[in-house]
């Protein structure tokens, strides 16, 4: 148990893995999904898999915002970036996501003015300082990030900034989880609920999981001990035949979420009828667009974008990874044609993506198994 020694409280770590062992029924296989990429990262980094009994399997979910952006959206972004007078801004993680003919980084090398920003407010400042240019912000992310874009848009509108617009690719967390629960190829026993998304949406939106699908959910913090404790809480529910939403991360996540953030989002965004997810296909009511009142700040309306749907590359099995059907290393191109330096699929781009997390940390775990 080399890894437990790195925990904040190794004793508690050992106690929890003992608890977990006593809660599982021998002969029963448990599949638990961690929805959030941040959890995937911690799980690989701390080798939490190795602390669990062999019949408790962790499946990595779709909660990495960069990983779910489809190729067609990247192509649309690049098309806008190449227009005359445009400064195209995006988060650093987004730069390397492959589109059908290269990434934003490649487009930048080819001469487009593409700038990495830390915050949508940085993009807004660039717009103010470059009144003769059109500044577009490529907005991605779940409900953790969407309120920030919303507040930025409110400010842009209040200040009547004519040269700022947003290409809105925000997504919501509940529809893909519901799609996974409906998916016949996957039988999940419980969910480790996302931590940061829940600071905004709260715990309530996850109540449908126990109510409609009879599966427990435990919203979890990011420390290895948090994750271990959340697994213990899920297994305890299963052992007792209970299923409900529990909040392991109470110290940060209020059950009601952040009402102010929800209010701002509701004012600025509305649901798209459907949105395409990389690897998962179209999911209805899963993406956000700007409401009528903000339509003039919508980059997709301001610049005509091709909006072409591009199929994922043949070699790429990101869909199966995002659905937890295969493990990253089971993809044919994992670590060979597809690496963090030269990603084919999105799961290899962000360090929160399952493939990148596994590539960076998981190999050590597997080497340990071999020796």
């Amino acid at each position: 148990m080399r890894f437990v020694d790195e925990f904040r409280d190794p004793e508690l770590g050992r106690a929890l893995s003992g608890e977990i062992l006593s809660l599982v029924e021998p002969g029963r296989h448990y599949k638990l999904m961690e929805v959030c990429g941040g959890h995937t990262h911690s799980i690989y980094k701390y080798g939490i898999d190795d602390l669990l009994p062999a019949n408790v399997e962790l499946v990595h979910g779709p909660g990495c915002p960069v990983c779910v952006i489809p190729m067609g959206r990247v192509d649309d972004g690049i098309a806008i970036a190449h227009q005359d007078g445009v400064i195209f801004t995006c988060f650093g993680d987004m730069m390397r996501v492959p589109g059908s003919s290269g990434s934003l980084l490649d487009a930048k090398a080819a001469g487009a003015d593409i700038r990495m920003v830390y915050s949508p407010l940085d993009a807004l400042r660039i717009a103010k300082h470059n009144p003769e240019r059109q500044v577009v912000f490529f907005a991605i992310g779940f409900e953790t990030t969407a309120p920030s874009t919303a507040l930025t848009l409110k400010r842009a509108r209040a200040e009547h900034l004519p040269n700022f617009s947003v290409m809105c690719s925000h997504v919501t967390i509940v529809p893909p989880v519901r799609a996974l629960l409906e998916s016949p190829d996957l039988r999940l026993d419980g969910f480790i609920g996302p931590g940061h998304v829940s600071t905004v949406v709260g715990a309530r939106p996850f109540e449908f999981i126990p109510a409609d699908y009879g599966r427990p959910v435990v919203i979890s913090g990011f420390e290895p001990l948090d994750i271990l404790q959340s697994i213990e809480m899920i297994l305890r529910q299963l052992a007792a035949g209970r299923c409900e939403v529990e909040n392991q991360y109470k110290r940060v996540v209020p059950y009601e979420g952040n009402l102010r953030a929800l209010e701002v989002m509701a004012e600025v965004f509305e649901l798209r009828p459907h949105f395409e997810w990389r690897g998962l296909g179209f999911i209805s009511h899963s993406g956000l667009k700007l409401t009528e009142a903000y339509a003039e700040l919508d980059a997709e309306a301001r610049f005509s974008v091709p909006g072409v749907r591009v199929a994922d590359p043949k070699a790429c099995q990101c869909g199966e990874v995002l659905k937890g059907v295969i493990k990253p290393w089971e993809c044919k191109v994992f670590g060979t044609a597809c690496t963090p330096e030269r990603p084919i699929g999105t799961c290899m781009v962000s360090s929160e993506g399952a493939c990148a997390a596994y590539y960076n940390f998981g190999r050590f775990a597997r080497e340990r198994e071999v020796v």
């Binding site: 980094k45 993680d93 915050s119 400042r125 920030s148 600071t199 701002v264």
Partner: protein, 92 residues
């Protein structure tokens, strides 16, 4: 961009636009505190917050902030990159 990093509010720098100066591991930058308005009186200097893409998204106590920072420091490269990106940020 997925990380939420802890910082301490130093001062409110622009009340109308709800901007505050925060200290994140010695790096001092402006972030928006507008998403915490109304949450038990909003944010005041001295408060610890989790910051994501230039916005404080939740208040935390000091112990939680320190524990989160320790966790991030142990994450290594990703936290460092996040700090680099924060350093490059100029919110006004």
């Amino acid at each position: 961009m997925c990380l939420a990093i802890p910082g301490q509010v130093i001062e409110i720098v622009d009340d109308a636009n709800r901007l505050a100066k925060v200290d994140v591991a010695g790096v001092r930058r402006n972030v928006s505190i507008g998403l915490l308005d109304g949450e038990d009186g909003g944010v005041v200097p001295g408060d610890w917050v989790l910051i994501h893409v230039g916005f404080a998204i939740s208040k935390v106590d000091e112990e939680e902030a320190r524990a989160t920072r320790d966790l991030l420091v142990r994450m290594g490269a990703d936290y460092e990159q996040e700090l680099e990106e924060l350093k490059a940020s100029v919110i006004e």
